[in-house]
């Protein structure tokens, strides 16, 4: 089990959120056990809804999903971009690697084993930190949203210190979900095909469709690139140098090659940091906006659906009036549809504008930080290389 405690919010800043004293949420601690992660959700609030001003509960991933799904299913929230659910904690790959390492312990030197173990543990820790951050971001987004923060389920989530008894979906439910999604995407295509009178939404529809696909592609490609970067580091190229010394470089010249070996150790550490930073600032950013752009698309879908329903209700009303049959019912239906549509449209516009603002801010922050970190590491590497070269050349 690995523990993660921080007093400072560990928000992977893919979101630029204003901190509000009335409600502050963070994940103050997390514990990784064999097959689950337990997050300690810590809340500070001046709101009267809560019994105390500060409190903590322990939650697992399924409970976050339950909360997210409850938002999605809530008709009142149809006009909002629902903050995307955090991805399931996935330590499988990392665990597998650690296990393989354990199995292969006999075939490598103690040094090599220790080094690799350290690296894999660092990797595990990095994944752990990420999953904590992503769960935290979700909660912060909810807390920052003017309406969602008041949601009852949210308050229960934050305050109820017993298990929420939310079980993961069983096979039947998962199958149901699958079919729901199929229907939804088919419907989504139909809905999207309906041209919108409103230019703003028509533009957003086109934009989001393309943007989402491109972000998906960029996310996949960035992942691949960073994985390559990391795998390159696992080649024991510099590790072998010390072993070569007694054989390759007799007596006097050991100093030279020792220096080289030290150098490679250090530059390798820096390269590992580079890969880790790229992962955080670039890959994670893209992944997050992949999910958010999907949430935005979902919003547009709901609005489009409501629009279609509204238009259908209008047609039905006309028909009913023409036939003079069930007119009242048709009128009521039409009213409901109209209200629903207008409510969604009203908030959707602002939500989409906010989305753009958030997105631009997040990209700016991350790209700047990425560039600054790349520069820092490159300069660090350069300095190491140059000073080593100076010594080596002087030696000869």
């Amino acid at each position: 089990p690995i523990r993660h405690s921080e007093s400072v919010p560990n928000v992977a800043v893919n979101v630029d959120l204003q901190t509000d004293a009335t409600l502050q949420v963070d994940i103050s601690d997390a514990l990784s056990e064999r097959d689950k992660v337990k997050f300690t959700v810590h809340t500070k609030s001046t709101l009267p809804n809560f019994k105390q001003n500060e409190f903590s509960v322990v939650r697992q991933h399924e409970e976050f999903i339950w909360l997210h799904d409850s938002f999605v299913e809530n008709e009142d929230y149809a006009g909002f971009i629902i903050p995307p659910a955090p991805p399931r904690p996935d330590f499988d790959a990392s665990r597998e690697k650690l296990q393989k390492l354990g199995e292969g312990e006999g075939s490598m030197t103690k040094e090599e084993f220790t080094k690799m173990k350290q690296e894999l543990e660092a990797e595990y820790l990095a994944i752990f930190k990420k999953t904590v951050a992503m769960h935290e971001v979700f909660l912060c987004r909810v807390a920052a949203h003017p309406v969602l923060r008041k949601d009852l389920n949210f308050h229960v989530f934050l305050e109820y210190n017993q298990d929420l008894s939310v079980r993961g979906k069983n096979k039947k439910e998962k199958l149901e979900d699958f079919f729901k999604n199929v229907v939804k995407s088919a419907d989504g295509v139909i809905v999207a095909g309906v041209k919108d009178v409103d230019d703003f939404f028509e533009h957003e529809k086109t934009f989001l469709l393309e943007y989402h696909n491109r972000v998906k592609d960029a996310s996949i490609k960035s992942d691949r690139m960073i994985r390559s970067h990391k795998s390159k580091l696992h080649i024991p190229f510099p590790h072998l140098f010390p072993h070569l010394f007694p054989h390759l470089f007799p007596h006097l010249f050991v100093r030279f090659f020792l220096k080289v070996s030290e150098l490679f150790e250090k530059t390798r550490k820096i390269e590992a940091r580079v890969a880790a930073d790229e992962d955080l600032k670039l890959a994670d950013l893209l992944k997050y906006y992949l999910r958010e752009s999907q949430a935005a698309k979902d919003l547009l879908y709901r609005r489009g659906r409501a629009l279609v329903d509204y238009e259908n209700a209008n047609k039905a009303l006309d028909k009913a009036r023409a036939k003079n049959k069930d007119v009242l019912q048709a009128e009521t239906t039409q009213q409901v549809c109209c209200q629903k549509f207008e409510k969604i449209s009203e908030s959707a516009k602002q939500e989409l504008i906010d989305f753009k603002t958030r997105r631009v801010a997040a990209f700016r922050k991350n790209l700047v930080e990425l560039a600054e970190l790349e520069l820092k590491h490159a300069k660090g590497n350069l300095q190491l290389l140059q000073s080593c070269l100076a010594v080596l050349k002087g030696d000869t």
Partner: protein, 461 residues
Amino acid sequence: PPSCLPAEDISTNSNGPKQEILLDDDQEDLFAEATEEVSLDSPEREPILSDGPSPAITPVTPTVIITPRAEASMFDRSLDEDEDTEENGDTFDMQITVSDPEKVGGFGCTSLNLFSRNEFSVKRRFSDFLGLHSKLASKYMHIGYIVPPAPEKSIVGMTKVKVGKEDLSSAEFVEKRRSALQRYLTRTVTHPALLKDPDVIQFLENTELPRAVSTQALSGAGILRMVNKAAEAVNKMTIKMNESDAWFEEKQQQFENLDIQLRKLHASVESLVCHRKELSVNTASFAKSAAMLGNSEDHTALSRALSQLAEVEEKIDQLHQEQAYADFYLFSELLGDYVRLIAAVKGVFDQRMKTWSKWQDAQLLLQRKREAETKLQYANKPDKLQQAKDEIKEWETKVQQGERDFEQISKNIRQEVGRFEKQRVKDFKVVIIKYLESLVHTQQQLIKYWEAFLPEAKAIA
């Protein structure tokens, strides 16, 4: 003062060696090295000190040249003038350049004598190089000289680098071969004895070379086969060589270990090269994707920044490719060379064993002849007795020769190994420094690219 080891640069871009300073250091180092070695094996103190050089006295080389005199019948060259030049203390620092064969139909081979400023340019086929090596190996390996092995005939041979999905392009293959040939020739002319060899001189200077006549080019693989066969033969020998000379045993073990470690390192470098190429492909792919994302982004400044990011990543991809080139050509090739060189070293150690066994056989036979003679003493057969006495004389000479040969090859090998170890260190130092310089260049470029990008990122409003 003459030098033991002319300084040279085995890289493809030869800037010419620094003569003065390096040589003095070499002399001192060699002496110091000898002392250090001595402290480890005390029984060897005597032989090493008397063989080894001291800065004020004669260098190593002349003794090496004089020896073949005993074998003068084996090759047709005048030794006197060689000996003279050696005693005059002339050294031939030679710079070899092998150029691209593309249109000329053969490898252009330029040798520049840095002392006399004589320059020769000739055209040679790949088989000519192999032929040269074969001749040198047959002449010198049995007296203990480490003859630099020729490049592999097949490119797959030692290295199995797959560049992405495709194998080496033809341009890369030609460059690899050209570079290998240059290193091969440079190593050959660095050897003080080989430099004077008429076959080598002919190779470097004659416009036309007779076609290699039925020479079995001893490639690295070939030598290994030979070594393995010899090892088998030794194992079959009933009389095990009494290794009174611990130095040889120790060295042999060292070379075994070195071989293993080099192969590991070689495999590791190849893996590194592969990964870097893969990283390059993935970086290029990401760059394109980022450009597309930038296109679809509707915030102008962010869109521009993303396009800039795509450009940066494209340039970084280029860097990765160049770095992979450096990794490969610098390290991988050098390691491959050394794996082959070690095979050649093992070859001479085995030659020594053969020489020893020949000597032992002669001793055994002499013993038998003496016994036979003693028997004949009582047999009253005067003719046969005389014949026996003649045979004894003959074998006594052979035994003496055998002992001399063994001592000579042992001596030669010690010197060769010393030279080899120094050379090895030099080679690796040069390559490592070059490699570090390439890494420096990469980092400098990275800094340039990211510094250009940063303001673009900050400009997003």
